[in-house]
């Protein structure tokens, strides 16, 4: 289990940083300042080669995410993420709206064993997320997964919503007809509904 952007379990201790799967111990900013003044090492604030700060982050956000992710522990975590995706048969995505290009690029790296992507989200009323799915699927996923049989098939029809999805299901049998495609399944009913249904089945 890995936190790709940091977590509440990644925090300062007296003389080091720790990951602890215990309840987070709250340290007020004033107490933290006191600890620093008494000798606790301050976070690293080095200067990058471009002259800007290399921010020591409690979580990954903001400027130059890709650069921040080259630092430990994130560099190792992302290496593992690539390897696990490389070996994955299925990818199950909950509530991710494809706004992180560094994650999209890894997903789009044609994992050889990946046969199915299931996406579960509340997208019924969220145009932004739906647009992101479409943008991502059109611009990235489609272009990187090699097509079988030398055919250019519009994957849009395979992953589109509503009627087009029915059309796809009628016309294509994934395993037999197009083994090189990823099968992409949407579930539009939201996380809790999905979990309830899948758990009861």
């Amino acid at each position: 289990m890995f936190y790709l952007h940091g977590s509440v379990f990644y925090t300062d201790s007296w003389d080091t940083k720790i990951i602890s799967f215990e309840d987070r111990k709250l340290i007020s900013p004033s107490s933290r300042n006191l600890m620093h003044s008494l000798g606790m090492p301050k976070p690293n604030n080095h200067i990058n080669t471009d002259g800007g700060y290399k921010f020591d982050q409690s979580f990954i956000t903001g400027l130059n995410k890709n650069i921040k992710l080259t630092e430990e522990p994130y560099a190792s975590i992302y290496a593992k993420f690539r390897i696990d995706l490389y070996n994955a048969d299925k990818l199950l995505i909950f509530g991710y709206s494809f706004n992180d290009e560094h994650i999209n690029a890894i997903i789009a790296s044609s994992p050889p064993n990946l046969k199915k992507i299931t996406i579960i989200d509340f997208i019924n009323n969220d145009i932004n997320i739906r647009n992101n799915y479409h943008r991502f699927l059109n611009n990235v996923l489609i272009s990187v997964k090699p097509f079988g049989h030398g055919q250019e098939v519009e994957l849009w029809n395979m992953v589109g919503l509503n009627e087009s999805r029915i059309e796809v299901n009628k016309n294509y049998i994934y395993e037999e007809d197009h083994p090189d495609y990823w099968e992409i399944e949407y579930d539009l009913n939201g996380t809790i509904d999905y979990l309830t249904r899948m758990t009861n089945n």
Partner: protein, 250 residues
């Protein structure tokens, strides 16, 4: 032998936690985190709740600046794209740029930059927003996030789901969220699986994953040589039953 199981990688984003994780009447979503960073009074309220004290002037300056930046982002959109809603991520991006500018041009007073960018109260004009203060603000945000928990009924449902999933697959779990939800889920399953162990040693190239039926699934991961250095500071695999603290060297 469990070799016929499939490998499933689970990736969760904000939409996984936001409908589930609650603190008082708040949901853990981008809107909440944006308020926490950009609304001074809201920040003060939460700060007081969790630390039982008032925020320092540094925090208030950061929050006021963030508020100004957020409003500027909202008021200066090139198009009328209603789907774009600036949030804490964009504000952090700008805050870091401001600090970077200040670091590159040390001969220019930080107060000048702040006054150009936003009409801060004059009493704050001497403050310097540094990377360390931004770091401290992030720690505060994580402290607040740690207060969010999943209701018992949702946690139970999630635990059953992941239990079912583990019966069918070797599971690798990755999340883009900062909260404790997945740890709470695994801890909830934990009571049923006392014979599973934690995986801890990345450098040995061996990991253990939890599986259903009390069977311990073992997978091997051989890290490339460049990862087998002293720079490997932490790799946390939390599997069920126990927890472990790993030190990260500075």
């Amino acid at each position: 032998m469990t070799s016929n199981k499939q490998n499933t990688l689970v990736l969760t984003g904000a939409g996984f936690s936001s409908p589930i994780m609650k603190y008082k009447n708040y949901s853990l979503n981008s809107a909440f985190l944006t308020r926490l960073l950009c609304e001074v009074d809201f920040m003060k309220e939460l700060y007081n709740e969790i630390y039982n004290s008032s925020p320092t002037d540094n925090f208030i300056v950061i929050s006021e600046l963030a508020n100004k930046l957020l409003n500027d982002l909202k008021n200066n959109q090139e198009t009328s794209d209603s789907s774009f809603e600036p949030n804490f991520e964009q504000v952090f991006y700008l805050l870091e740029n401001i600090i970077n500018f200040s670091s590159r041009e040390p001969s220019i007073k930080n107060s000048f930059i702040l006054n150009v960018l936003c009409d801060l109260k004059s009493s704050y004009s001497d403050y310097i927003i540094s990377p360390l203060e931004l770091y401290s603000f992030q720690e505060f945000m994580l402290d607040v996030i740690s207060k969010f928990k999943a209701p018992e009924k949702d946690l139970s449902l999630l635990s059953k789901f992941f239990f079912r999933l583990m019966e069918k697959s070797y599971l690798q779990y990755y999340t883009l969220n900062y909260d404790s939800l997945i740890v709470d889920i695994l801890a909830n399953i934990n009571t049923n699986y006392k014979d599973l162990e934690i995986t801890k040693n990345f450098n040995l190239g061996c990991t253990y994953g939890a599986s259903g039926g009390g069977i311990l699934a073992k997978t091997f991961f051989i890290p490339p040589p460049y990862l087998k250095t002293g720079r490997i500071q932490c790799f946390i695999y939390m599997v069920l039953y126990s927890t472990q603290i790993l030190g990260i060297q500075k």
